[in-house]
């Protein structure tokens, strides 16, 4: 195999890990409460702006930006839950869709108002440029994002499946009334889910900002990928999002390299349709 092809695959895997990272928050909320958060892309966008602000206002790199973005977007998640989602959940499905969609537009245009429409980029010296290993080039900021992507999705998976809090959260998602009878407060668990999802999304945004551009509409570009990743992997499955993210990343890179960049989306979406055809619940979703 030529070294360029190996480089393409490595780039694809790192890209896929990032896809998984910014999709995990979306899948978590779906799994917990059957709500699709259409504002997800804009949560990522605000996470990216948090990193930009940490850099411009405090001169801090990703090691300061990641926790700050996690806190800010986590708080935004909780606020969205108490002020909006909690109420629209009582309404019909359509209200939920339009509710979070409205939130998306609100956040996007608030960003236009506050940050302006200009593109922002972080100086790339922050995470130490790139290095070469066995003829393959790795870029510091992408490796950091990829590794953090794996770590955060695995951590979310372990919290949900191996801890008492996780069990309580899953209990609420399965039957809120029964869980309440067992002494679990559903609202508290759901708020916690929004907080965790927001924090994961904030981390994703702060890490992506290191190698991507930041603008108020960047959420649109990323949100589509998040939705594809999540439905590919199975709505509600954090591990599924990870596997799907990696597959999409590699398929996208390989098809862009071997077939041509204009065709890569076609190929990714054909694969996506095929998966949904044979496994409508996604790779790892529950039927």
């Amino acid at each position: 195999m030529s070294s360029t092809l190996v480089q393409v695959i490595v780039s694809g895997l790192l890209l896929g890990a990032v896809y998984a990272l910014f999709s995990s928050g979306l899948t978590l909320i779906w799994g917990m409460m059957n709500v699709v958060n259409f504002a997800h892309g804009d949560f990522v966008m605000l996470g990216m702006y948090s990193a930009v602000m940490v850099w411009t206002a405090l001169g801090g790199g990703p090691f300061a930006a990641v926790p700050i973005a996690a806190m800010m977007i986590g708080t935004l998640g909780v606020a969205s839950y108490f002020l909006l989602v909690r109420h629209i959940m009582k309404g019909p499905m359509l209200a939920q869709i339009l509710g979070t969609f409205g939130l998306a537009l609100f956040l996007r245009y608030a960003a236009f108002w506050y940050f302006g429409a200009n593109f922002k980029t972080l100086p790339d010296t922050i995470v130490g440029g790139s290095f070469e290993l066995m003829g393959i080039r790795f870029e510091g900021s992408r490796v950091l994002a990829g590794v953090m992507g794996l770590a955060v999705t695995l951590a979310l998976h372990l919290i949900l499946t191996r801890t008492a809090v996780g069990s309580r959260m899953l209990a609420v998602s399965e039957d809120a009334t029964a869980a309440q009878l067992m002494g679990i407060r559903p609202q508290r668990m759901q708020a916690l889910a929004w907080c965790m999802a927001g924090a994961a999304t904030g981390i994703a945004g702060a890490l992506i900002a290191n190698f991507f551009y930041t603008s108020p509409t960047v959420g649109e570009t990323l949100a589509i990928l998040a939705f594809v990743t999540v439905s590919f992997g199975g709505f509600g499955s954090v591990l599924g999002a990870l596997v799907a993210g990696l597959i999409i990343g590699v398929v996208e890179s390989l098809s862009a390299y071997l077939v041509g960049p204009v065709y890569k989306d076609v190929i990714v979406y054909i694969l996506f349709v095929l998966v949904l055809w044979f496994r409508p619940q996604g790779l790892m979703g529950k039927a």
């Binding site: 360029t4 480089q7 080039r137 992408r142 551009y213 890179s253 390299y257």
Partner: protein, 418 residues
């Protein structure tokens, strides 16, 4: 109804009539609709152009002593040909989509009742917005869209002041031939372009011109604009390692390509960017240090102190808080000044009069804020005197390196990058 109320009403009506009559005494302003990307992925370019047009309108409405020595319309007090009517700009956001551009054109014409339209930056949006103007018989002046087919539609209300793809292709071609003569390698040329109207048309015009001039395009990569990742494209380039690389890209992709090329540590001997994203002030501000030596084209050349571009640049700098006019904003401003000149000569706001005045436009080089030889439209509405210069990125600023007559600096090659 009591007598009291009736009297009040009558008095009110009388006052209202007086008010309308009083308003008619002062000349009503002429409304010009301006469609630009004020949000979306090209918003930076749109917002800077908006400020450039505002500077232009302020000069015509309120005057500028220095400019008035050169430009007849800079004396202040509006348009003398329209009894001193002031110009009112009505801005609309095309949101970066052809559909929004079309809707805004319709809204400006039917609801705002604008006398003429200016816009719309992206070629694909100019295409749809100008079709609406054509249908309603409203003049549409375009300052910056370069797709060849825009003036090939047989439109009667469409006027374009900017140089077009063929002009750029010739500029790049003669630049590369000069470099070849000077002993630089130009044997293989890669063309990377986004695949909307702008990228496709400019790429094919460059390919045709280069084929005629004996320059070999060895690799052509089309990609979808607003990509989430461009690593595979850069790896394709790295593998083939062309001598010359030409980008035709908007801002978001320009940022990704620049960052990714550095990450993957590859650069060609000569790198040319066809304007657009690589000229966006947001790009230049944050990434200039990573594209040192990048060759570009521009319609803006600051010129001698006291010249039209120099004076406008000073006003613009004040307005933007320190930014210079750039290629996009200067071409927008030039389009506005051409329209203002036509409105003034039209002597009325009837569309047909403005159309006739635009057709008769004959502006000389000394009146130009952009680096054109003048403005004169052919039958298709294209400015035949448009021209552009070849520039190079030097320490955060583009300087003019070709043609020889306008060059302020010598070209430094190979491309340095970061």
């Amino acid at each position: 109804m009591t007598t009291q109320t009736r009297r009040t009403l009558a008095a009110g009506a009388a006052l209202l009539t007086l008010g309308i009559a009083g308003g008619a005494l002062a000349q009503a302003p002429v409304k010009i609709g301006v469609i630009y990307p004020l949000s979306g992925n090209s918003a930076t370019a749109g917002n800077y152009s908006k400020m450039a047009l505002e500077v232009g309108a302020e000069v015509i409405n309120n005057g500028d002593a220095d400019l008035a020595k050169i430009m007849p319309l800079a004396k202040g007090g509006g348009l003398p040909g329209l009894k001193g009517a002031k110009i009112q700009l009505v801005f609309a956001d095309n949101q970066g989509t052809p559909a929004a551009g079309q809707n805004q054109a319709l809204r400006l014409i039917s609801e705002e009742k604008v006398a003429a339209l200016i816009g719309a930056y992206q070629s694909g949006i100019t295409l749809t917005a100008s079709a609406i103007a054509e249908r309603h018989g409203i003049p549409f002046v375009n300052g910056e869209s370069v797709a060849a087919n825009l003036t090939e539609r047989g439109f009667k209300w469409f006027f374009r002041t900017t140089p077009v793809a063929l002009d750029f292709a010739r500029a790049y071609s003669s630049f590369l031939k000069e470099q070849k003569a000077a002993g630089r390698k130009t044997d293989t040329i890669a063309l990377v372009h986004e695949n909307t109207e702008y990228g496709n048309s400019v790429a094919s015009v460059i390919a045709d011109q280069f084929a005629k001039d004996g320059l070999n395009i060895s690799q052509k990569i089309a990609y979808s604009a607003n990509s989430s990742d461009v690593q595979p494209q850069v790896l394709q380039l790295k593998e083939k390692n062309p001598d010359v690389l030409i980008f035709i890209s908007y801002t978001s992709d320009a940022i990704l390509y620049t960052k990714t090329m550095k990450e993957l540590n590859w650069k060609p001997g000569i790198m040319i960017a066809d304007n657009a994203g690589f000229n966006d002030p947001a790009f230049v501000k944050s990434l200039a240090s990573q594209v040192e030596g990048l060759v570009n084209r521009s319609a803006f050349s600051a010129g001698k102190p006291g010249s039209v571009p120099d004076l406008f640049n000073a006003l613009y700098k004040k307005k933007t808080g320190g930014d210079d006019l750039d290629d996009v904003s200067v071409r927008g401003l030039q389009a506005f000044l051409v329209l203002a000149d036509a409105l003034n000569r039209a002597g009325g706001t009837e569309p047909a009069k403005i159309q006739a005045a635009l057709k008769a436009t004959d502006l000389k080089a000394d009146q130009m804020v952009a680096g054109y030889d003048g403005v004169k439209f052919d039958d298709k509405g294209q400015n035949v005197l448009a021209a552009s210069v070849v520039t190079q990125m030097r320490a955060g600023k583009y300087v003019t390196i070709a043609p020889k007559a306008r060059a302020t600096h010598e070209a430094i090659l190979p491309y340095k990058g970061w």
